[in-house]
Structure formats: structure tokens, C-alpha cells
């Protein structure tokens, strides 16, 4: 057995360091010590030298929600990427690649377009739920379509899966494009934000709104580690060992699309995290889903926090869309994996 404990410790420690570090970075620099002081004060530990109020305000109402959102979304993307790769029995399956994110964003954009008919302001608490559910419905529909299309003789076929993903991406993209024509200026800006992804809109309401959709899958999905392992040797084979593949498949797909939908509804499409994070975990720790699932959540959170930090500081005071950063980091690594493992992946 590979050393699971070391992997978990490194990832948790790394995540903590990155979170603290990125809390200090940004348009306004806050030294690490101040960050710790302010956070300590919030949870009732005084005795450190007081930092100034402005720094405290920026930290608590701008940076902290944004970084917590980054951690949540990163964890959700990482773990659902790993789960979906497990269900499709293929390391190329990724929510963005096979159309799940596009489906979610299409439905989200639809809801934005109909905002005036819904009598609900989308920037409010209830609005986040509505958006999250809409995105979940879109993600679920896309996942179901791709799975049905890609299934030949009871097992998913990689080529068909990718082709179906391309088709769904194109369709959702076209419909989203169509909607942008009917959108007003404000809506247009929101829609553009969807396509590139950003953590910029983070606030505490939003976090409380989507937290259950992300936390429930993140804590439940690791329970299906064994089931997904058996999926890797085939559905029929899993059944012979005494698992119920249909049940596992349904639950895992629902949980992962739920979390992906929730992420897309607040941050837009952030690509490559769900594809790369599980890959890196497997390279380090092997393919056992009992490790891959939780570790992908941790690494996903870490990667997204770093990406968001870069997005904020690289060309400060202007912000880059986070999707640009993850794609810039992810695409070359993805190409490298393809180059190295192409024979293994597309069998």
C-alpha cells in the first residue's frame, strides 16, 4: 500500500499554507501575521497586536468569502472529476470535456435570461438556490445524454463519449450564444462571466447558499470508493462480486452533477481542474478510489486557490478570469499526459 497518510498530510498542510498566504495577497497587501491576528480575533483569541480596520474589513468581507468559495469549488470539481472518470471507466472523462459544465451553464444562463419572469433576484439567497438547481438540472441532463450515447454493449465507449461531449458542448454553446443576443447589457456581462469563470462575485450569502450542494457530495462521494474500484473492472464483473452497479452509478452521477452544477451556477465554467487533479493523484498514489476521491478534493481546493491567487495578483489591479489561469496551467499538462499515456488512455 502506498503511503496514504503522507499524501493526506502534505495536501492538508499545503492547502492551509496556500489559504493563509493568498489571504494576504491582492490589491491591498496584508502581512501574514496580520492575517493570523485578524482570524484569531474573529474566533475569540485576543492578545495579538491589533491590525487596522480597513485590513480587517477587506479580509473578512472580500478575501475570506472568495477564498472559501475557491476551496469549496476546487474540492467539488476535483472530487466530481475523479468520480465521473471512475463511472465512465476512463481518465478522459471530465465534466467540462463531456458537456456536463456546458449543460449546467446553459441552464444557468437560461435562468438569468428569465430573471425578470421569475420574480426572484438572483443576487439573493433564494436566487442562489434557484440557480444552483437549474445548473444541476442542466448538468444532470448532459451527463445522462452522454452516458446513454456512449454506451455500447453495456460499457461506455471512449470515442463515442468524447464525440457526444463535443456535440453537447456545441449545442449548449450555440444556445447560450443565441441567448446573448436577446440579453441586455447587464445580462450580457453576467453571461460573459459564465463562459470564462470567476470567483469575483463571492460573498457570504452565496457561500451559505451553495455550501450544502458542495459539502454533501464531497463528504458522501468517498463512500463509493470501493464501488468505483469495482467499476474499473467492468459493470458485469462488479455485479458478480456482489455490488449493485446500477445503484452506485445513479448515486455517483447525481452527487457529482449536483456539485458541478452548483459550482457552475456561482463561478461559471472552470475547466481542466476536474481532469487534471485526479490524474495527478493517481500518478502519486495509485488508482484506488478510496484515496483518489478525498485526495482529489483536497488537491482541487489547493489548485483552485492558487489559480485564483494568480488571477488576482498577476496583472493587478486588473483581474484575470480564473478559467484562463486553469487552462494556461492545465492544457500543457494535459497534452503532456496525452503524449505520455496515449496508448493507455485511448484503448
Amino acid at each position: 500500500m502506498r503511503n496514504k497518510k503522507t499524501i493526506y498530510t502534505c495536501l492538508t498542510l499545503g492547502l492551509f499554507i496556500v489559504v493563509v498566504f493568498s489571504l494576504g495577497l491582492g490589491a491591498m497587501h496584508i502581512p501574514v501575521l496580520d492575517v493570523i491576528t485578524i482570524l484569531a480575533k474573529r474566533i475569540g483569541i485576543n492578545g495579538f497586536a491589533a491590525a487596522d480596520d480597513l485590513a480587517e474589513n477587506v479580509l473578512l468581507h472580500v478575501r475570506l468569502p472568495r477564498i472559501i468559495l475557491g476551496v469549496l469549488v476546487g474540492a467539488a470539481l476535483g472530487i466530481s472529476g475523479a468520480a465521473i472518470q471512475g463511472i465512465f471507466r476512463n481518465p478522459l472523462a471530465e465534466p467540462g470535456l463531456i458537456g456536463i459544465s456546458a449543460g449546467a451553464s446553459l441552464f444557468a444562463v437560461l435562468i438569468i435570461g428569465m430573471e425578470s419572469f421569475l420574480f426572484v433576484s438572483l443576487s439573493e439567497f433564494l436566487g442562489f438556490y434557484l440557480l444552483a438547481f437549474g445548473a444541476f438540472a442542466g448538468a444532470g441532463l448532459a451527463a445522462m445524454l452522454v452516458y446513454q450515447f456512449s454506451k455500447t454493449d453495456g460499457k461506455p465507449n471512449v470515442a463515442t463519449m468524447l464525440l457526444a461531449g463535443i456535440a453537447i458542448n456545441a449545442l449548449a454553446g450555440a444556445l447560450t450564444g443565441l441567448l446573448t443576443y436577446t440579453a441586455d447589457e447587464q445580462q450580457l456581462r453576467t453571461i460573459t462571466f459564465w463562459m470564462l469563470g470567476s470567483l469575483g462575485g463571492a460573498n457570504w450569502d452565496m457561500i451559505i447558499g451553495i455550501a450544502p450542494f458542495i459539502l454533501i457530495p464531497v463528504f458522501l462521494l468517498p463512500l463509493y470508493g470501493k464501488g468505483l474500484n469495482l467499476f474499473a473492472i467492468g459493470e458485469h464483473q462488479a455485479e458478480q462480486i456482489g455490488m449493485n452497479p446500477g445503484k452506485i452509478k445513479n448515486r455517483v452521477v447525481i452527487l457529482s452533477t449536483l456539485s458541478v452544477g452548483a459550482c457552475v451556477s456561482v463561478t461559471g465554467i472552470i475547466g481542466f481542474v476536474g481532469l487534471l487533479v485526479p490524474h495527478i493523484i493517481r500518478l502519486i498514489g495509485g488508482a484506488d478510489h478510496r484515496l483518489v476521491l478525498p485526495a482529489s478534493a483536497l488537491l482541487g481546493a489547493l489548485v483552485l486557490t492558487v489559480s485564483d491567487m494568480l488571477a488576482r495578483v498577476l496583472v493587478a489591479p486588473v483581474e484575470l478570469p480564473i478559467g484562463v489561469i486553469t487552462a494556461l496551467l492545465g492544457a500543457p499538462i494535459f497534452l503532456y499526459i496525452l503524449y505520455k499515456d496515449k496508448k493507455k488512455i485511448l484503448q
Partner: protein, 612 residues
């Protein structure tokens, strides 16, 4: 115990499995054999509960297979699929451990580590434990999956092991190793059902063989019972030699192998493109199928038997003037020769002297003791002298190029007389004569209603000689099989092929001499004598006579067998007549008989004993 109770499986109203019933006892290893598409895999899928039978049910340990929970069944039954693809980089050890997943909680007395160690050791994958599955060869992967499947039921004493073509990707060592493992587990109380393609592995390791064909259970029994060359040919269409190893007493099967001539792949090319001459193609075919008769090879090459012979003109074949009666009168002078007459279903040969040449109307007769022939010489159009593989013969063909009769020289022949005969009758122009190739007209059967049945019955009952039967057919415009069908009561009765066989074997056993009439369009050869040996070789039934004569008939071609009774001045004459699917006569059997003497009592008795 596993009981399969008349299960059928159909898709879109097409049956993939039909009414299959068998049961497997504890400690039994059963091999399922059959050609591609025979239903083996479907049967396995039903046994492992992946598919539900359309009809019937499977009972395992007194409980319906459907009534088991997935977990319960998993601890009693493990399945190794033919194809197992792992797409993620799991290590070998992780894969084998998956077999224990359901077990981990209610752990029995054996620890998972021990099971892991033992199964991996047995399957020869211990040294691969930390390797990624993606880096292994197909055979190695299959062995890992075997270890996983064994691990799943390792702590059970009487589990059911289902193996669907487990060894197709393995090398020789592990093919045997795998089946030896399965066989060893049966000694412990396991039941093993195993789909195999390699018939010798089945013979070696299985306690029982079930052979499927077209979705049905064709045979079921011990390997030495089921694996006969006839059964194997029926199931797979391959001729084989089946031996019993004298040391191990195991059945061993050696397929005869095929040889194909690439020329046949180019049949769509013009003849000029086909560079090999007819003669070369004929020789190459005959070398491949030494047992095939000339007419069959001719059919494959798309020519007539005569045309094959014409290819040798100027070389080993000499064309004679078609003065048939003149030639035939000289045959007696050749001394001992072998007479051969055949049709598509039956072949007769006999060594003797062509004595007592005579003519009776259009019919030429040889009424010798050994050679007894009726020849319709007006049908004989081509006469050839052939020297082939050291054998010299005279061969006669009709206007369509069909072979009618052959006369082979033997050690007791006067070769000089033969050479003189050839010299005398040699045609000046040795180019191949044109064949007429008249269309064979199928005789249309009259409708039964058009026939005057009572007249026909009367005529039958008033026959004075068996020879009159042919005239009877002509007079009433009947085909032979139609006449038998409409015969007077108890004059013609259809009997089974099996009872025909019994009769003939009985004749050979209790020494009843018989007459066998083998006929084609130009000739009837009558071999009379005591049968001394009756045996089967594939579809061929060989009847050897004490005199050295031989009659071979193809039982697969036999469509109907009739017991016919014809009245004569000497009393009733009984015969057994065999017909092909198109109503052609294959061969007729009578008791030995001479005009003026009543039929043998012993022949009549044999018929009564074996046919009723």
C-alpha cells in the same frame, strides 16, 4: 447442485438457446463446447445471472437463482469473463483484493492477506503484485483476474466457478495451469462450468462435456462418449482423428486440417487468367482429398468428369472409338479385372472376369459369377483408356460427360490383351470430343389423382418377374418413390435407416447372402455374395463382401428406405430400397436369388425380424 431446467432465451423472437436442461453435481467439472454462435456465451450469461432466461429457470442449491441477494450469490459463485479491461492504473494486488470487497466486513477465519497470497501464488502473478495492470500482457491480465475470481470464493468449500473462455489469451503453460486449478478445486467440492474452444483441453480436464449446436444441447456425457469424430464433425464441421492415449486413457483429437487452393479464390477471373491448367488443378485437389470421388472433384472444379480426363489426352489418356459392344466383347479376354460403378450416393466394385457377354434388346448383359452387369450401351458415348498413378483402366462416359463405368486392370489381368485392344480401337483424332451436355430433364411427378390406382394395384399384384417393375412405372407414368407410396397394401412400407442398418448387420452376422444393385443412367452393377464386414467411416457405410467386393453408400444422403414386395412366378420377392432426396435410387438389396428358385427363407426371416 446446479440444475438448469429447460431454459430458453430469445431475442426478437429468435431463439439463441432452446430448451436446455442439465444438472451439475458437487465436484464436477463441465466443459461447454460448440461452434461460434452455438449459444455458449448466452448460456454462461444466464448461469451467472447477467441475463434472465425467457423460459425455464436455474436452481442453485435448492434455491431459485433469482431469489439470491447479490451478496449471497457473490460468496457462492464467481465468474471469470472472457474479456476484462481495466482502464485505470490499478496494481495487480489491488485488482485481486477487489474479489474480497464484499467479504471484508463479515470476515471469516481466513485473513484477506492469506487469501491474496495464496491465490496470487497459484495463478503465478505474485511477482507482478505491484505492477500496474495497464503494463501487463493480455494473458498476464487474465491470470490476475483469475486470481481475483478465486479470491472471491476462496473460503467457500463448494462454490460454483463459471469460466467463459478463460484460457483463450493464455500461453500453453497457463492454459493447462488454469484448467488444472479448476479441476483441483472440483476435488475440494467446487462445481466448475467452463466454456472452451480447445477440444483437447476439454477432453483432458473436464469430467463431462456438453456440446451445443444452434442453441440446443446436442450431446452431454463423458468426454470419451461425446468427443467422437462424427459428433465433432457435426458440431464444428471439421474432420478429426480421435484416439485414446494408451498411457493416460485420455481422448485425444487431431484435426485433419484444411488445404485450400488459392486458384478457387479467383473464380471470378476469366479462364485465361487462371494460369493453372485443369489437369494441375485436378491433381492438386486430388492430393488434398484423396478420398473424394472423381465426380465430386469435377463438381468443385466446375467441369464434368470426362472433361477432367480429356485434359490428359495425348499424355496418359487415350481416346477410343466409341464402338461399345465391340469393346465390351473383348473384356473377357483381359482376365481378372475390377469393375466399378457408382452414382452420387453409392459406389460398387468387384473383381472378376467379364463372362457371358450377351445382348437382350438394348441391354448388354454380363451374367458372370462375379461380374453381373446390365449395360445400356446406347447411353455410352465416350470410351477412354487411362493410365493414372500406375493403374490402367478403361473408363466410359455418357454424352454429358458423366462417368458410367470403369474397368481396372489387376495383377491377374492380361496386359498385352489390353494394349492390343487399345491399339486396335485408338481413335485417329485424339482431340477431345464435344460433349452434348443435354439438360437433364427432371421427371415431373404426375398428380396422384391422375393415376388409375386400382389398375396399378392389379398390375403390381400380377407381376411375373421383378424386371417388369420398370415397365410398370412407364405404363402408369410414375416415379419410383411415387409408385412405392401408391403401392398396394403391404407391398411397400417405409422403414427407418436404423432398421435398414440392423438388417444388413444381421445378414452379415448370420451369413445370409445378399444382392446389391448399384445403378446409374448407363449401368447396373449387381454384387452378390456374403457380407463379411459392415462398418461406418463418417457418413459412409462400407459393406465388404467375402469375395473382396465392396459397396459404399453415403448414409447422410439417404432420404427414405422402403421395404418392397414384388410377386413373381417363383413367389414373392422382398427387397430393401434406398432413395435420395430427389427420389433417385441409391441402392437396392435383395436376398441372393436365381430365376426359377424361390427367394431365400433366411432373407425373408431377417427382414421380418429386423423391420417389424
Amino acid at each position: 447442485m446446479l440444475r438448469v431446467e429447460s431454459i430458453s432465451y430469445k431475442i426478437n423472437n429468435r431463439y439463441l438457446l432452446k430448451d436446455i436442461t442439465f444438472s451439475i453435481r458437487k465436484g464436477e467439472m463441465v466443459a461447454i463446447l460448440g461452434a461460434n454462435g452455438a449459444g455458449k456465451s448466452t448460456l454462461m450469461k444466464i448461469l451467472c445471472r447477467e441475463k434472465q432466461p425467457s423460459e425455464g429457470r436455474v436452481v442453485y442449491d435448492a434455491k431459485n437463482l433469482d431469489d439470491y441477494s447479490a451478496k449471497e450469490l457473490a460468496s457462492k459463485r464467481a465468474t471469470l469473463y472472457q474479456q476484462n479491461t481495466v482502464s485505470l492504473a490499478f496494481t495487480v494486488e489491488e485488482i485481486v483484493l477487489m474479489g474480497r470487497y464484499v467479504k471484508e466486513k463479515d470476515n471469516t477465519n481466513i485473513s484477506n492477506e492469506l487469501v491474496l497470497k495464496e491465490t496470487m501464488e497459484i495463478c503465478g502473478v505474485s511477482h507482478l503484485a505491484d505492477r500496474s495492470m495497464l503494463t501487463l500482457s493480455g494473458g498476464e491480465q487474465q491470470r490476475v483476474h483469475l486470481a481475483r475470481v478465486l479470491a472471491q470464493v476462496w473460503d467457500n468449500k463448494e462454490a460454483l466457478l463459471l469460466l467463459d473462455e478463460p484460457v483463450s489469451s493464455m500461453d500453453m503453460l497457463y492454459q493447462h495451469q488454469t484448467l488444472a486449478i479448476a479441476n483441483a478445486l472440483t476435488k475440494k467440492g467446487f462445481m466448475v462450468v467452463c466454456v472452451l474452444h480447445e477440444i483437447n483441453l476439454a477432453a483432458q480436464y473436464a469430467d463431462r462435456v456438453i456440446m451445443l449446436k444452434g442453441g440446443r444441447k446436442w450431446w452431454d456425457g463423458a468426454p470419451e462418449e461425446v468427443l467422437t469424430n462424427r459428433n465433432i464433425f457435426t458440431a464444428f464441421g471439421v474432420h478429426t482423428q480421435v484416439h485414446t492415449d494408451p498411457r493416460t486413457l485420455l481422448t485425444q483429437i487431431t484435426p485433419n486440417g484444411f488445404k485450400l487452393d488459392a486458384a478457387v479464390f479467383n473464380s471470378n477471373l476469366a479462364a485465361s487468367h487462371n494460369k493453372r491448367s485443369l489437369k494441375e488443378r485436378f491433381i492438386s485437389y486430388r492430393d488434398e482429398y484423396p478420398a473424394k470421388p472423381l465426380w465430386q472433384i469435377a463438381e468443385i472444379l466446375g467441369v464434368t468428369p470426362a472433361e477432367i480426363m480429356f485434359a490428359g489426352l495425348g499424355d496418359n489418356v487415350i481416346l477410343l472409338r466409341p464402338e461399345m459392344d465391340a469393346i465390351l466383347q473383348r473384356i473377357e479376354g483381359l482376365g481378372l479385372v475390377k469393375a466399378v460403378t457408382y452414382n452420387e450416393h453409392c459406389e460398387a466394385e468387384r473383381i472378376g472376369v467379364y463372362r457371358n457377354f450377351s445382348k437382350e434388346g438394348y441391354t448388354t448383359l454380363f451374367l458372370g459369377e462375379d461380374i453381373d452387369l446390365r449395360i445400356f450401351a446406347d447411353r455410352w458415348k465416350i470410351a477412354l483408356a487411362v493410365e493414372d498413378r500406375g493403374k490402367e483402366s478403361l473408363q466410359f462416359f455418357d454424352c454429358n460427360g458423366k462417368a458410367l463405368h470403369q474397368i481396372y486392370l489387376t495383377g491377374g489381368s492380361y496386359r498385352q490383351v489390353y494394349l492390343d485392344l487399345i491399339a486396335e480401337f485408338k481413335q485417329k483424332d485424339q482431340s477431345a470430343p464435344l460433349l452434348e451436355k443435354t439438360e437433364q430433364k427432371e421427371r415431373e411427378e404426375k398428380r396422384d389423382a391422375e393415376i388409375d390406382i386400382s389398375d396399378f394395384h392389379q398390375a403390381w399384384n400380377n407381376m411375373l418377374d421383378t424386371h417388369e417393375f420398370y415397365g410398370l412405372l412407364k405404363r402408369f407414368g410414375l416415379t419410383r418413390t411415387q409408385a412405392l407410396r401408391l403401392a398396394p397394401p403391404s407391398r411397400a412400407v417405409q422403414v427407418s435407416l436404423e432398421s435398414f442398418r440392423r438388417t444388413i448387420l444381421n445378414c452379415s452376422d448370420i451369413e445370409v447372402p445378399v444382392m446389391m444393385f448399384t445403378a446409374n443412367e448407363g449401368c447396373v452393377q449387381i454384387n452378390t455374395g456374403q457380407l463379411c464386414n459392415v462398418n461406418s467411416n463418417g457418413p459412409w457405410l462400407n459393406l465388404s463382401e467375402r469375395s473382396g467386393g465392396e459397396t459404399r453408400l453415403n448414409e447422410d444422403d439417404v432420404h427414405s428406405v422402403w421395404h418392397v414386395v414384388k410377386p413373381t412366378v417363383d413367389g414373392d420377392v422382398n427387397s430393401l430400397e434406398l432413395y435420395g432426396a430427389n427420389g433417385n435410387m441409391i441402392v437396392q438389396f435383395f436376398g441372393e436369388r436365381k430365376p426359377g428358385i424361390p427367394e431365400l427363407e433366411s432373407w425373408k426371416k431377417v427382414l421380418i425380424n429386423n423391420l417389424s
